[in-house]
Amino acid sequence: MTTAADLRSIGEVAVQIRTGALSPLDLTRACLDRIDARRDLNAFITVMRDRALADAAAAGRQIATGHYRGPLHGIPVSIKDLIDVAGTPTTSGSAVPPGHPSRDAPIVTRLRDAGAIVVGKTNLHEFAFGTTSEESAFGPVRHPRDPSRSPGGSSGGSAVALIEGMCFASIGTDTGGSVRIPSAVCGTVGLKPSLHELPSAGIVPLSTTMDHPGPMARSVADVGVVFEALKGSGRRPAAEGSRPLVLRVPEAYFCERLEPGVREALAAARKKLAAEGHRIETVTIADAARTPDVYLHIVLPEASWFHAPVLERYPDRYSPGVRLRLEMGRYILAEDYVRALSLRARLTRAVDDALDGCDALLLPTLPITAPVIGATTVDVDGKPEPVRAIMLRLTQLFNITGHPAIALPAGVAGDGWPVSMQLVGHTNGTDALLRVAARVEARLRA
């Protein structure tokens, strides 16, 4: 049973670590015990117990001798197993032979430089090519609230690790929503920064032009702390402002197919924010309905290109669904890929236009709550929708355009499952987006 103590914020435990009231070793041991206690959820692929305990002990000694590095020093974190961590295999959740990196990915190096303790590598939808984390050679990731349900994906193990107190932050990747979708399903916070804001070196690509690594945690403040470390800035997140926000809700397309609980949560969020004096407007993102077609014609050929040599050699080691999606990409004509890139530029301008003069766009992160593992369709407003398509529907546009976007909890649906709102900021305005998100989070949690 997860207790409130398991789910403290980074800010809370950082104060205790800095003052010596809590040792990184005890904290890390507690997280590792949580991982062991819930192996049935398949949240982790590799647990780095010995290395994590050694690093935690070293962190404790450094802090005790006056060498405190900042709010991540001694904090247990996890890494999606698509990202290189020296000395551990990078499996990508696949039975395809893994990579054996001798060096950490730069974003892992930055976390370690900030003093974070890596406890392990989290499970995922194979090669990040799916939204449910059920196609993994290491077993499907299961939602702790109901193991027959998916925690979302592809960074599903990371989100489960957060809500089960197995770590205080995790690093995921987001190509169509893979940080934000599991954050939405699990009731945590996930940030997709601006495109290319964080380095992608040492990360197995899915789409070389739409992949975004990003931090996941239990609050906006915690995500902000991790994001600063990932940038290598060493700065603390700037303070929030107090002027009323201007938020725009893109209703057409984005609010058309929503489960009732999600629709009610959006209405409640608008009402709460307006009651606090924020200005809530509506906006149309021109031709947003073209998003899935553009997305498909970029992600499929880019993924197929990367996987071609391995797919030729080990076709049967891929999960059937992932293999078929990779095979599908090989049939896309070059001219259609270029068409999609051309339309991508136009969609980017359309989102810029929608953001002009406001702080952020406000929309749901996910039209549904946790899907049943193995389901191929889900009923939305009495109509069956393909699970993968409906889960990507509200997030993938911002991978195409590169705008920063964050998923944050917005209460629960009538059946008790978490519901999430998404805020989308200006390109290269991730810090400003985090400040907006902190204010929205405070209001939505009130």
Partner: protein
Amino acid sequence: MDRTSQTQMEAWLRAASDDADRRGLPQLKPLLETLARATSALREADRAARDDHAGSASAGPATFGSSGGRTETTE
């Protein structure tokens, strides 16, 4: 979609499905049908965007539709 485009798409789908069969991947065929629909939609969007751009070339960068389409209501 005009008739020529439709014929081209049908020919593409036939060739792709035959290739999937030849490679022992018949389960790919429903996905290729989905892809064909998406590709048709993509090509139509591209055509519309080019027409739009041609119609407003002197007015700066083209955008989908006639405007940003903002309708403001304050809550």
